[in-house]
Structure formats: C-alpha cells, structure tokens
C-alpha cells in the first residue's frame, strides 16, 4: 500500500461562517472533477480545513498534484507521506524519505503540529524527537530554527500523521461557482482570458461570448478562441462558448457612421449583445479584459460611454489597473499567451479606423447612433448565435 498522499490546505474559505459547508462542497466537487481526469482512483478525507487525497497503486500523484494547484479555494498543495499516529511511525517515515526531505540542504528544522491534542507528545517535543532522528541519519546537518534551508513538517491529525517538506502555493481565491455566474467577452487577445481567469478565481463560473465577423474572420480565429476557452476550463471547469456574428453591424457602422467613432460604437453594440446573451443564460455579470488607457477604446471617456450601455448587469474589469506586462505574466502562467498572440484577424482588428477618437462624447455617440436601427441590428446579430460546450 503506497503511503504518499496529497494534503490540500484551504484558503480564504476558512473565514466563512455558517455557510462554510457550501464553500467546502464546491471545492470538493472541483477536486473530484479534476481527479477523475487522472490515472488511478482516489480517496478523499476531509477534516480541519484540510483535504487529504490518497491514491491507489495506479494513481499518478504527480499529475494529481499539478491539477490540484489549479483548484480555486486551495491555498497550498503538499505532497506528503502518511503514517500511523505514533512517534515511532513518524520517525520511521522520516527515515524512509530522508533524502527527499533534506535534499542538499545544510541546515534544517522540524516543525511538529498536533491538531489531535490527545497525542502524547506536545508539538515542541515531537519536533525535538524527530529532529534527533534526522541528525542521527544526517550527522553533517545543523539545526537552524530561524532560517533553515528546509523544514521537515510533521502533522498529527485526527486520523493519521503526515510528514512533508512544505507545500507549493495553490491557486488561492474562492471556489468556482461560489460567487455566481459571469459572461466573459472573449476576444482572442491576451487580456480577456486573463480577465476570465481572475474572475473565476473570485468564484465565478463562466460562459464566454466571442464575436466573429465572417468572412473577415475565419475558422482559424474561431479555433484559437476555442483553444483559449479550453485552457481556461483547466481552472474553472466547463465553459459554454457562444458566438455572435458582427459582420452586418460592422459594415453598417463603416458605411453610415463617423469612422473615428467606429470602435466605441462597435463596443457599445458588443455590450448590448453581451447583456442580451448573459440574461438569456442567467449570467449575473459581464467580464471584459479592458485596461485603462491601453488602447483608444479604453480611455476613461470611451469606457464610461461603453459602460453606460448595460442596463441591468455590472461589468467586471479585473485588468483595469494592470500594466500590460502584468497581464502578460498571468497569461503565461495560465498558458494562454502563446495562443493569444497567434496573428489571425479577429472582429476588433478587421476594421480599424486610422485616427480613432480617444475623447468621444456621449452627445456625438448618440448622434451617430440615431442614424442606425439599433434594435434591428441587434436582433439580427443575436439570431446568428451559435453555442459550443468546451471542456478542459
């Protein structure tokens, strides 16, 4: 029987009160979803804000650990060795894995924690005893309690004891689904997948809305967006990807309206359609990748004009205060960057005015919109909707 396990430490959800069990159940559901994709079968044991995962002999624990790092709500993921709750068993486990625990460190300390207060040794006494074991096995080591190269962690829990060398950082945030459901405007660029990731991290499940513009945009751009959605699924579970064609709206704007206002006028249409789609599927917020001042349509004036469109839903813009470099860093971390920079046309690059107006006024926008049959354009665009379920 293998004794290596995963210990997942819960993050912010531990602050929750009476509704705590709801948050816990969402974490466990997501953990089970991800483990179902791993080789082997797994047993879960939850107690004291910690989830212990034990795999059978076929289980790929490394793969499981990697996947657990993508579960929102988890603060740390530790690969540990489980043993019986006795000093002798803990010492034997440390001895068995001494090389993996110490590596090439020169200094160490043992950090014993007993949440089971009936365990006969106090935490400091446990640390001291096992510290002695480590020193007898690696006599060249020195104990350094303030700044050790490695910390050998000893946890005495309700049903078992565990030994590990500390955990890796988890995804943090709140469990997916705990905050409701949002509609991500997914463009194919760098920012929108990051925006989706950040809001999923705060507990939203996602639907995504992509605007295409056939034949100006093609299959390759669509496949690119599907790939991005799939990469997001690794964090937030399944995504329903909706696609609406903007061709007629874009062509009408180009032929009827002031070209300098094209982008802002188009974004207002996107917001109208996004809100229609969000309400249709029960999403309670819109999510965009806008970042203040990044491009002409994201100046404060342009944003406030775009922002005034949704009548019911809030618009979340988690990238609003981020530098491009910071957004890129997250996109690399979630593995969307390389896909985002593929050079296919998307609906935002098809018609780009030579000199966009960066200080549009609502008055001018309304003047231009008065030339349009907004309701008819939206209705016909909405009829082009297609849907696809994307799985991680």
């Amino acid at each position: 029987m293998r004794n290596d396990i995963l210990i997942l430490k819960y993050g912010e959800v531990v602050m929750k009160g009476l509704n705590r069990s709801y948050f816990d159940s969402l974490i466990i559901r997501r953990v089970k979803q991800l483990l179902a994709e791993c080789d082997g079968s797994f047993k879960l044991d939850y107690s004291q804000s910690t989830l212990m995962i034990q795999g059978d002999d076929d289980a790929d624990m490394e793969d499981a650990a990697e996947r657990m790092k993508r579960v929102f709500g988890i603060a740390a993921v530790c690969r540990a060795w489980q043993c019986e709750k006795s000093l002798e068993a803990i010492q034997a486990t440390v001895a068995e894995h001494i090389d993996e625990l110490i590596g090439d460190a020169k200094t160490f300390k043992c950090d014993g924690r007993r949440s089971d207060k009936s365990f006969p040794l106090t935490s400091p006494a446990l640390s001291a005893e096992v510290g002695g074991t480590v020193l007898s096995l690696k006599p060249y080591l020195k104990v350094d309690v303030k700044n050790p190269d490695v910390v050998v962690r000893l946890e005495v829990r309700d049903k078992y004891a565990a030994v590990h060398g500390g955990g890796e950082k988890g995804a943090g945030g709140m469990p997916v689904g705990s905050a409701g459901h949002g509609m991500l405007l997914l463009s194919g660029g760098i920012d929108s997948p990051v925006a989706g990731f950040l809001m999923a991290k705060r507990g939203l499940t996602l639907d995504a809305l992509y605007f295409d513009s056939p034949p100006y945009t093609g299959e390759a751009a669509m496949e690119k967006v599907e790939t991005l959605a799939k990469k997001l699924c690794a964090y937030c579970g399944r995504i329903f990807l909706h696609t609406i064609s903007l061709t007629e709206i874009q062509e009408t704007l180009m032929s009827v309206c002031d070209e300098r206002l094209f982008t802002v006028l188009l974004r207002r249409f996107m917001m109208r359609l996004a809100e229609m789609q969000a309400l249709d599927v029960g999403a309670a917020a819109l999510i965009t990748g806008e970042s203040l001042g990044q491009v002409a349509s994201q100046t404060l004036m342009a944003l406030s004009i775009t922002n005034s469109v949704p009548e019911v839903l809030p618009v979340f813009r988690p990238c609003i205060a981020m530098d491009k470099e910071d957004i890129v860093q997250i996109s690399r971390q979630i593995d969307t960057f390389e896909t985002s920079i593929l050079p296919y046309e998307d609906c935002c690059t098809v018609f780009v005015p030579k000199h966009p107006n960066t200080r549009p006024t609502m008055e001018r926008i309304l003047e231009e919109e008065a030339k349009l049959d907004i309701e008819g354009l939206c209705k016909r665009a909405f009829e082009t909707r297609r849907h696809k379920k994307i799985m991680g």
Partner: protein, 374 residues
C-alpha cells in the same frame, strides 16, 4: 466538389500513387530481414531509390530516404556543422529560406555560429552580397532551389560557381522541396549542391516520406542511431510503401503534366489581368506551379475565408509560416504594405483544370467586390 489551389502546401494523393502505395502495403517484410518477405520489401525499396536517384540525377548510394523534407534539412545542416572545424563557423543563407532551414540556423547561432543573410529582393539571390560573405570561415551556404511563397527559381549554378571561384570550400546545401520535378532542368539544378533535401507530399504522394541527397565525398554523421538502416545514416525500419509512393509520384510528374500547370497558370493570369488592380508578384526566374498575387483592396485572410466557404482553397503565405503573421519572405521579396496585406499564394498542380482556374478567379473577384475594404 472542392477546388484545391494550395498545392505548394501539400497535394492530394493521386490515384496512381494511391494504388502503388496500397499495393506496397502488402510488402509486410522488414527490408533488413533475410527471408523472402524481407527481400521483397527490400527490392521494392531499392527500386524506388533507383527511380528517384535517376530522376534527381544522382547515384543510388547518394540517395537517403528520410521522413520529411524538414528532417532532410536538419540532417544536412546540423551534420555539416558538426563536421566543420571550430574556426569555420559562418553560415550564409538567403533571407527567404523555409523555417526548417532558418530554425536550424537559429539554433546554430545560439551555439556560436555567425550568420549572414543574403537578400533575395525581386526573387533573385544577391550575388554581390553572397560573394562578400564567402571566406575560409564560411562553413555552410544554404540556398533553396525554389521559393515556397513566390515560386522564385534561385540561381544555384551561379551560387556554386561563386563558391568554387572564391575557393572558400563552403558546403552548399539546397532545400529543393518545391523544385523537385517542378521544372524541366531539375537534374542539372540539383547537381550544383553538395546536399539536397526533397519531399514527396508536394508531388501528390502521402506525407511521411522525404529524402536527402548527399554527394559522394561528403561525410555526414548519422542523424538517427539504431539498426543502421539507410547505410547507417538514418536508422529506423524503412517506410517501404512511402518510398514506393514517392517514386511513383515523381515518375508521374512528366513534362506533359508541367504543360498543364502552365496552361492553368496562364488562364489565372489572363482572368485576373482582365479584372484589373491585381499585382503579380512573379520573379524573373520562377516555376509555373506557384503564383503569388496581390489582390489589391481585400485583405488576404478575408479573401481566403470567402473562398473557403465556397470550397475553394488557397493560402495567404506558406502554410509553415501562416501562424506567424506577415510573411517575411514577401517582405524580403520587396512587397510594400498594400501588396503584403492582400498577398495570396496559388499553388497549381497538374490535376487542376482551366475550369477550376475560372472558378477561382470568379470567386476572388466576387470576394473583392463584396468585402474589399483596404
């Protein structure tokens, strides 16, 4: 029924090749085995080598099968550089080579090689710059026979003469994937290079088979180690059916077939000339099977998408660089912004017809009329 004009990317397998390929799949023996089944497979393999070597104007012992043109380029470039002395680290290549050459050279550069790019503006190798780049330090010169985006036929013979004249002793490697059997003078052309990369799937054969010609006297280290197949150069149980298909496809590419290609090409040019406002990016020396145009007024991707919805397939640039944005090859050729944005590559095969040429041009013009924006 699809109209396929992307034959520079890859080609559909022809009926004759399909038949030969399927028949060769029955040769189940391992060509290295000593029994009858092995012997039958070995004979088919060697017959294919004989046919191909004869078409390429080389000796059978100079002809090595690989899995692709990319593998052949990798084998030659890394192999030659491994054989060259430490002080001889300069690599000279044109600015319009295929990524399977440029990426090898980029890797060599990271390991200390000095790289010199030779301009190919207008589709011709700049011989003046090349001459200046040749010295005793020059280990390798890479010049493709035919450019995959413009169809430019580069002057390999002239490059060979320059190398010989300077006496620098540089190795000349030629990526001839787009050239083999596509121009009447293939044999003469390929004789100029020390190593030559070939691929079957541009000739209506399946993917997964290519070749490297290594002239006698040139020594390369093995690319894949193992059972010693391909005379120790490229271990791995041989792709017998692939080799047979390659030989059949090359044999099918007769001069009559090239004439069909020319007829279809001329029809496309005539049609588009009549339509007007089209740039023909045709180098002085070129093959007939690749026609690069700029359909002014409509972005390449939009034209491509329009045609695709009608089941007509062309490309905007090489399939191997379509994921990288604006074509560096066409920039090197000298196209300006408007020409670049609207550039289209039409890859013509002997199996295309003039009716297909008409359908293609008709669709292109309609697409521009309806969706032209630039």
């Amino acid at each position: 029924m699809a109209v396929y004009f992307d034959n520079a990317a890859t080609t559909p397998v022809s009926d004759g090749v399909k038949e030969a390929f399927i028949s060769a799949l029955s040769l189940y023996g391992n060509p290295s085995s000593l029994h009858g089944a092995g012997s039958a497979a070995r004979n088919a393999m060697e017959q294919a080598r004989h046919t191909l070597a004869s078409l390429a104007g080389c000796k059978e012992e100079e002809f090595y099968f690989t899995a692709s043109g990319t593998e052949a380029n990798n084998t030659a470039i890394f192999g030659i550089m491994a054989r060259k002395a430490k002080q001889c680290r300069r690599v000279v290549l044109t600015d319009s080579e295929h990524p399977s050459v440029t990426e090898c050279v980029r890797a060599l550069e990271k390991n200390g090689a000095r790289v010199v790019l030779i301009p190919t503006k207008g589709g011709a190798v700049d011989m003046g710059t090349l001459e200046k780049a040749l010295s005793k330090k020059t280990a390798l010169v890479c010049v493709m026979a035919v450019n995959n985006e413009t169809g430019a036929l580069y002057d390999l013979k002239g490059v060979r003469s320059l190398i010989d004249k300077t006496g620098c002793g540089a190795h000349l490697h030629c990526d001839a994937v787009q050239a083999f059997m596509k121009t009447p003078g293939t044999k003469r052309l390929l004789r100029s290079a020390d190593t030559v990369a070939l691929s079957a799937h541009k000739l209506h054969a399946p993917r997964g088979i290519g070749a490297l010609i290594v002239k006698n006297g040139v020594s390369l280290p093995p690319y894949l180690y193992g059972g010693g197949q391909e005379r120790g150069m490229r271990s791995g149980t041989e792709n017998v059916a692939g080799a047979v298909a390659f030989a059949t496809a090359a044999s099918e590419y007769t001069e009559e077939k090239l004439a069909t290609v020319s007829a279809v090409r001329n029809r496309i040019i005539d049609n588009l000339q009549k339509a007007g406002n089209v740039g023909f990016n045709i180098p002085a020396e070129h093959i007939e099977g690749i026609l690069n145009i700029s359909l002014y007024g409509i972005k390449s991707e939009t034209a491509l998408n329009c045609l695709s919805t009608e089941g007509i397939y062309i490309s905007a640039s090489s399939a191997c660089s379509a994921r990288k944005g604006v074509s560096s090859v066409l920039t090197a050729y000298g196209l300006e912004r408007e020409g670049l944005l609207s550039a289209l590559r039409i890859g013509i095969s002997p199996y295309n017809t003039v009716e297909e040429a008409d359908a293609l041009c008709d669709a292109l013009i309609r697409a521009r009329e309806r969706y032209g924006r630039i």
